[in-house]
């Protein structure tokens, strides 16, 4: 039986089982006798054993088999779980990850697992486990950044080409659609309709093929927290929420090192030593949590710790010592002050540690987040903890947008800016102001702003927008209205950047080509509105 064709499936499922094992082992550290977790672990090892045997991956099969035996004893109660056992299993996990990587890379699986097997067997008969050095640990703990599962190893360029091909399909489709108008053949019409649906779903599939859940990134974090906590001798637990939210792979990957930096900082500088926490009457273990929620088409990721928080006075002193005037520092709003920790080299910690050095990387974190069009906020309560809030786009290219029409021309308005869409009689909009939610907001006609001729009509559409500069930063919304003739669908637009010769257009932030071949601009609404209003009141 030719098993090579099952390799991709093997790697995919083994990868899932290995993540499951990692999660399971770490939760055993909290609750060593959890029978549900032990049962699941047993099945993970069992599955890996079976698949590896079928594929002929012997070292993997041997490890999984010995681990399965060990877990069988643990789940049946024949053996009590201990920290030593969990540690042996974690060591084995590293080797299994390495083996899986070798399978993926078609490299020989010539890793000697006999020492690991011996310690698994010793553990299974209740002897203290001897800890062999793990050969080529898959994840250098606390070392580099996080690793993503690489089930999808496809160059982004390929997706671009696929999309371009689908674009051609759309064009062909639209000529077929035109032909159906003059045709009486129901079969032909149905066929073209069906083709349209297929092309659409192909298009969606390609776009969403790039999306990966946060889970893929976060799966490595419990281990990081565990290792860093062990290293610093602190007691830290880790929780996650909303890790099923998916993001474009590129953005997810870009979040990897910011997350590691933030967690390192939290453990190293934020969280207190056990004694200090006891004295302060704070609960043990300390908690680091990551919580993700979606906000319109973006994701907000909060990393919180319940450590000592940021010392403003020390931060101010540092800022002054780095050349920022004392006057300026004193007059800063708290939110701005906290952002000072993102200045290169500015740290509030007195000691330099091996883990995070001098408060390493908050400047790097901010830069990384902003490079993906995201924003960073910091909240901190003295003695209670710190929260780093990152708001990111979920995709680099797909923007939820409303298709609007004015004077027969179509444009896209990003949904993230839209507060409300109101259909009104044209005469209600003549004053240039509109009362919305108790305040007068300025109203700008898109046709007038662009110099597009429109026919007179009784009713038009008012789009109430938030035109605040940086998306997502805290503070009041700035509302304004944009008048268009009409609006139609909300679409997931595959937005392309503006290239020369239109790269300097200020009225638009991108362009998309609709399914029927029409190019449509994604409007830069704050630009259009502020430009028009500036012209109105010089």
């Amino acid at each position: 039986m030719d098993v090579s064709k099952y390799k991709a499936l093997y790697l995919q499922e083994t990868g899932e089982h290995l993540s499951g094992i990692e999660t399971g082992l770490l939760s055993l550290e909290q609750n060593p006798g959890d029978s549900f977790v032990l049962d699941n672990l047993f099945r993970h090892y069992h599955s890996i054993k079976g698949m590896s045997a079928s594929m002929g991956y012997e070292p993997m099969m041997l490890l999984a088999h010995a681990e399965e035996d060990l877990l069988d004893k643990l789940r049946s109660g024949a053996l009590a779980n201990s920290e030593e056992i969990t540690t042996v299993l974690l060591k084995c996990l590293d080797t299994m990850k390495t083996l899986a990587e070798r399978v993926r890379a078609d490299e020989p699986l010539d890793i000697d697992v006999s020492a690991l097997l011996a310690s698994l067997k010793a553990a299974a008969v209740g002897q203290a486990a001897r800890m062999p050095p793990a050969p080529a640990a898959a994840l250098a703990s606390g070392g580099q950044g996080l690793k993503l599962s690489s089930v999808m190893k496809v160059e982004g360029r390929l997706f671009d080409e696929l999309l371009a091909t689908v674009g051609d399909l759309f064009m062909t489709l639209s000529s077929f659609k035109t032909l159906t108008h003059g045709s009486r053949s129901v079969e032909f019409k149905n066929g073209v309709h069906q083709l349209g649906k297929t092309v659409n779903s192909l298009h969606d599939t390609i776009i969403f093929a790039r999306m990966l859940p946060l889970e893929d990134l976060a799966a490595g974090l419990p281990r990081l927290v565990r290792d860093l906590a062990k290293e610093t001798g602190k007691e830290v637990s880790f929780t996650t929420e909303g890790m099923d939210i998916s993001l474009d792979r590129t953005i997810l990957e870009g979040l990897g090192s910011p997350l590691v930096h933030i967690i390192r900082n939290a453990i190293d500088h934020g969280i207190e030593q056990t004694e200090e926490r006891k004295k302060a009457g704070k609960p043990l273990p300390a908690v680091i949590s990551i919580k993700a929620v979606t906000r319109k088409d973006r994701v907000v990721i909060e990393v919180s710790d319940d450590g000592r928080g940021i010392d403003r006075e020390r931060l101010k002193a540092k800022a002054v010592s780095r050349g920022i005037s004392a006057e300026k520092v004193e007059s800063m709003a708290d939110r701005e002050l906290l952002k000072l920790i993102c200045l290169p080299g500015l740290s509030t910690a007195e000691t330099v540690t091996s883990i995070s050095g001098r408060g390493v990387g908050m400047d790097v974190v901010k830069e990384a987040v902003e490079s993906f069009g995201g924003s960073l906020e910091i909240e901190s309560k003295r003695y209670l903890g710190t929260k780093i809030i990152m708001e990111m786009p979920r995709t680099s290219s797909i923007t939820k947008a409303l298709l609007v029409e004015t004077g027969g021309e179509q444009f896209l308005v990003p949904i993230s800016r839209i507060e409300k869409v109101i259909e009104l009689e044209t005469k209600e909009l003549e004053t240039g102001l509109y009362e919305y939610a108790g305040t007068q907001i300025p109203v700008v006609s898109l046709a007038a702003a662009f110099g597009i001729k429109t026919e007179s009509r009784l009713r038009r559409t008012l789009i109430v927008l938030d035109i605040k500069g940086t998306y997502g930063s805290a503070g009041e919304k700035i509302l304004a209205g944009l008048v268009v003739d009409d609006f139609s669908d909300e679409i997931d637009a595959y937005v392309k950047p503006l290239l020369p010769p239109i790269s300097k257009l200020r009225e638009a932030s991108g362009i998309t080509v609709l399914g029927d071949g029409r190019p449509v601009f994604l409007l830069d609404v704050p630009q259009i509105i502020s430009k028009t209003l500036t012209g109105r009141n010089p």
């Binding site: 689908v166 064009m171 662009f450 009225e507 449509v520």
Partner: protein, 146 residues
């Protein structure tokens, strides 16, 4: 200057484009709106799923007489990944092959032309597409039309 040429016959004369730069020719009734359009920049179309800025060739060459609404024939130029659409209205196109050009080309330049071919039917100016592209970019930069 060498290579096959696509010849466009406009009211104001005949103009040549390198066929190597021509990615395709599309016909369209109406050009979608391009924000900030000015001068000879007339709109935007899509070609193989890519947006292409369109300029009005007669306008660029100084002839601003309104062409009767007979639709738009747009030659899509693609050089080193940069795209530009040249709207020639309803003008006719033809070709001159490389062999026919030997010894008939001079370096006489104009604002947007880089040479001249003395063909049997009369002179043909060679369009300097790079100059057109640069001017288009300038026209669409906010500093210039704000």
């Amino acid at each position: 200057m060498e290579g096959d040429k696509l010849i466009i016959s406009l009211g104001s004369g005949r103009f040549a484009l390198d066929t190597k730069a021509v990615a395709g020719i599309i016909e369209q009734e109406k050009l979608p709106f391009l924000p900030g359009r000015s001068g000879f920049v007339s709109g935007i179309v899509s070609f193989r799923n890519e947006p292409v800025t369109v300029i009005d060739l007669s306008g660029a060459l100084g002839d601003f007489t309104e062409t009767a609404g007979a639709g738009h024939k747009i030659i899509i130029l693609s050089v080193k990944g940069r795209l530009l659409g040249i709207d020639i209205g309803s003008s006719q196109v033809s070709f001159i092959w490389d062999e026919e050009l030997k010894g008939r080309t001079t370096g006489e330049k104009g604002l947007y032309t880089s040479g001249r071919i003395y063909a049997a039917e009369g002179p043909v100016d060679i369009i300097d597409w790079q100059a057109l592209f640069n001017e288009t970019t300038r026209l669409l930069s906010t500093e210039d039309h704000a």
